[in-house]
């Protein structure tokens, strides 16, 4: 453990950096061999390239093209309009709210879902009877599709007949409008989303905890570390790769959430749960809309946001990550 530089030893054998194949710059007759190797490599890559190209990059190019065009009532591009869609987008005061909701939703889902999963994962490390049962039970949300879970949460949130208000009612609390109160709806949807994500986060963190090197823990214990000190100074740093992974994946996942919003609130009340992805859907497909141009412009904004956040996470957050 190097603590002096703050930059641990780890880069020296980094699992994410496989041994680079020796560059084939040899002087002998290997030139043609290298060429053949390149073709073989290309052959192996081809299936992935075709699928990526067809389903990812072609639509991306198409979206860029659509975003600078108008759209007729059937959804056909109606000609080049320059950056009209973009200027309209940034001139729209509602769009600022959409961005804010997207940001709030991401924060309200990513952080709690990791924090709660971490807490449960740590508790599940204890060697008590029946812990296997609890491990399975807590990971179960992972097995629910977003649609199923959302429908169930819709029932729980029902102000008149829902379980949540039923419980609150026994404590004398008046009916809470979980999904129709503009100040509360985003919290409710986020809460449901956190529940949906906990299962997966728990699996990843449990696996991470299970793979902690026993010798390091042993050494720490011999040095007298225990309890919180052990968790904070040994377990947490060793768990940073998993935590970092969950932050990145969770953020992208949250930015793209759709099903729970569509099913629970349809973006309301007063568009207070309309995230960027939901807004794209509304412009492109809902209410007989087919504003593909405008929707594509929003999709571009989403792409840039995801790129920036991911780059930031890799650039800033990853410095704290401790790869063994």
């Amino acid at each position: 453990m190097t603590t002096t530089t703050g930059e641990p030893v780890l880069a020296e054998h980094d699992p994410d950096r496989p041994n680079q194949p020796p560059q084939a710059q040899s002087n002998n007759a290997a030139g043609s061999g290298a060429k053949r190797e390149r073709w073989v490599a290309l052959g192996y890559l081809l299936p992935a390239l075709v699928i990526f190209g067809l389903f990812i990059f072609w639509p991306l190019v198409k979206s860029i093209l659509l975003s600078v065009q108008g759209t007729d009532i059937l959804g056909n591009p109606s000609g080049f309009v320059g950056f009209v869609n973009y200027t309209r987008l940034f001139g729209d005061p509602d769009f600022l709210q959409v961005l804010w909701v997207t940001f709030a939703f991401t924060v309200l889902t990513v952080i709690p879902s990791i924090a709660i999963a971490l807490l449960i994962a740590l508790l599940l490390q204890s060697r008590i009877r029946g812990v296997r049962f609890f491990r399975t039970a807590f990971a179960l949300p992972f097995a629910f599709s977003v649609a199923t879970a959302s429908v169930i949460f819709g029932v729980l949130f029902n102000p008149a007949s829902g379980v949540l208000n039923g419980i609150l009612n026994t404590f004398g609390v008046d009916k809470v409008q979980w999904l129709t109160n503009p100040d509360l709806a985003l919290w409710s949807v986020s809460g449901a989303t956190v529940w949906m994500q906990i299962g997966y986060n728990l699996l990843v963190l449990s696996a991470g905890l299970g793979a902690l090197p026993e010798d390091v823990l042993e050494a720490a214990r011999l040095d007298g570390a225990s309890g919180l000190r052990l968790q904070r100074s040994i377990v947490m740093p060793l768990l940073t790769p998993q935590l970092f992974f969950l932050v990145v994946v969770g953020t992208i996942h949250s930015l793209q959430s759709f099903g729970q919003i569509k099913i629970l609130t349809v973006g309301g009340p007063e568009d207070r749960t309309t995230t960027l992805v939901y807004s794209i859907y509304e412009q492109a497909f809902a209410n007989n809309n087919s504003n593909y141009g405008y929707a594509s412009a929003q999709a571009m904004v989403l792409l840039i946001i995801v790129l920036i956040i991911t780059a930031l996470q890799f650039g800033v957050l990853e410095r704290k990550v401790f790869y063994r």
């Binding site: 990812i56 072609w58 056909n76 109606s78 007063e270 209410n287 007989n288 995801v306 991911t310």
Partner: protein, 476 residues
């Protein structure tokens, strides 16, 4: 040295990260890109007329009619029955293949994609508010072309229903499933509150007066005297019962509408009334989900609600199970004594002409004619609770029987017959009507949550301006 290595490692990972982010963001772009094609020139090309009447006799073999609909549950069962009846009558000649195309919104989205891939069905069911769009999409043959060709007597069709789907007295599509808004109330709660259960409130002031006796807040028997979903359709109805037009250009009947008028004084009056009712604890705000308001009314939490005739069955059942008596009345007016009436809702059938064979067009017409027939309509009415479009259907013995068992349905029948057909009660034809409905809901919702009614409705109406302009300029 060490630092350079690790920053290089970071860069490597960054290189992985960027494609990952691109990939994930592209998922949605893929969905958006899906709708763009190069097809759909939508020209008239002589396909907007009816084919010769004998074309089917000349055709060999079985003509298959593709029919997309948006009915599910018991409605779908009733429809399937009608389709198989038709097929049985036309064995060896015509076969209708019915396909569920999703709910109204999904069906129209699918239809747009079908236009681009030149694979529209022969007949499609489209919701009322898609009517202007269907005309502008220029894919269909107006019903009037068939009616004129056959010199068909259409006096059996309810004029108040065909009115919605007509421009200049020319019928574009055949109305099929039709519903109307009515006021529902809980007679038992009325009695408990000391109100006359045979005198339902018929204007805004009367609803408020009743709610003041019905609501828990004022010592009444119901949680709230009044409650209805934040549903734009209901606001449209208030404007129509007041005899006013929802959009300009004579409700879009004299020319393409250029603006909506739900920010007019009458409309704002309704919103203000509703807002005050909620503020004073006399009305519940159950949100936009119509099911939430329905559930609250069924469980006796609300004493008065506004809903479609389509809910009559569900409400009757809930009343029977809950041991209370259901009442139904005409849709209320803003002020007593105004001349106007409610607009019908529902969906209609369109025959596609563009890229379709003459034999298919003719077979499609026969199918549509079959569905509009009084016998089919009686069967449909009984099976679903939708309003029959045929006057004769109401005289069919089975239908008379049905209404004897469901006497409240006669309220709707009388309401429709007593409504004077005017541009106000024909309803607004607007290309972006679905968006307009949503915008009005945005305004109403904001107001119920505390925004100034005029401000909320003006903002909502103005938000549509650019959409309407864009629509109109793209169909010129």
């Amino acid at each position: 040295m060490r630092t350079t290595t690790s920053s290089a490692a970071r860069r490597t990972r960054l290189r992985y990260a960027v494609p990952a982010a691109v990939a994930s963001a592209s998922l949605f772009l893929a969905a958006c890109g899906g709708g763009s094609g190069d097809g759909g020139d939508g020209g008239d090309g002589g396909s907007s007329g009816a084919p010769a009447a004998d074309v089917l006799d000349k055709a060999s073999g079985v003509t298959t009619v593709a029919f997309w609909h948006a009915m599910d549950g018991t409605n779908a069962e009733a429809l399937t029955k009608l389709v198989s009846d038709f097929n049985a009558q036309n064995t060896g000649k015509i076969e209708v293949k019915a396909t569920y195309a999703g709910k109204y919104d999904d069906a129209i989205t699918k239809y747009k994609a079908a236009i681009q891939s030149k694979s529209t069905p022969d007949v499609i069911q489209i919701y009322d508010i898609g009517t202007r769009f269907m005309i502008d999409a220029k894919q269909t043959i107006p019903m009037q072309a068939f009616i004129d060709r056959d010199k068909l007597d259409v006096s059996d069709l309810q004029p108040n229903i065909t009115g919605y789907y007509s421009i200049d007295d020319k019928l574009n599509s055949m109305p099929f499933n039709t519903s109307m808004p009515v006021l529902y109330y809980n007679k038992s709660l009325f009695t408990k509150a000391g109100l006359d259960p045979e005198k339902p409130p018929q204007d805004l002031v009367a609803i408020r007066t009743a709610a003041e006796k019905l609501s828990k807040k004022a010592g009444g028997p119901a949680d709230y005297g009044f409650g209805a979903a934040i549903y734009g359709w209901l606001l449209e109805q208030f404007i129509a019962t007041d005899g006013k037009e929802y959009c300009d250009q004579g409700n879009g009947r004299d020319g393409k509408a250029t603006k909506v008028q739900f920010d007019s004084p009458e409309s704002v009056e309704v919103v203000k009334w509703w807002q005050t009712m909620v503020k004073d604890g006399l009305a519940a705000n159950t949100g936009r989900d119509t099911k939430a308001a329905q559930a609250a009314f069924k469980s006796g939490q609300l004493a008065i609600t506004l809903e479609s005739t389509g809910q009559l069955g569900g409400f009757s059942k809930a009343a029977k199970e809950g041991g209370w008596e259901l009442g139904a009345a005409n849709y209320p007016h803003i002020k007593a004594g105004t001349e106007g009436g409610p607009i019908i809702g529902g969906a209609s059938l369109w025959i596609n002409g563009e890229n379709h064979e003459d034999a298919n067009k003719e077979a499609a017409w026969r199918f549509v004619k079959f569905l509009a027939d009084k016998k089919s309509q009686a069967q449909w009415h009984i099976g679903t609770g939708y309003f029959p479009i045929s006057k004769g259907a109401l005289e069919e013995p089975s239908d008379v029987e049905y209404r004897k068992a469901n006497p409240l349905f006669d309220v709707a029948v009388k309401q429709l017959e007593n409504t004077k057909l005017s541009k106000a009660t024909q309803g607004c034809l607007l290309g972006v009507m679905p968006q307009a409905r949503k915008a009005s809901e945005d305004g109403l919702e904001a107001a119920l949550n505390g925004t100034d009614p005029q401000e909320a409705m003006t903002k909502a109406a103005e938000s549509l301006k650019s959409q309407i302009d864009q629509y109109n300029s793209s169909v010129e």
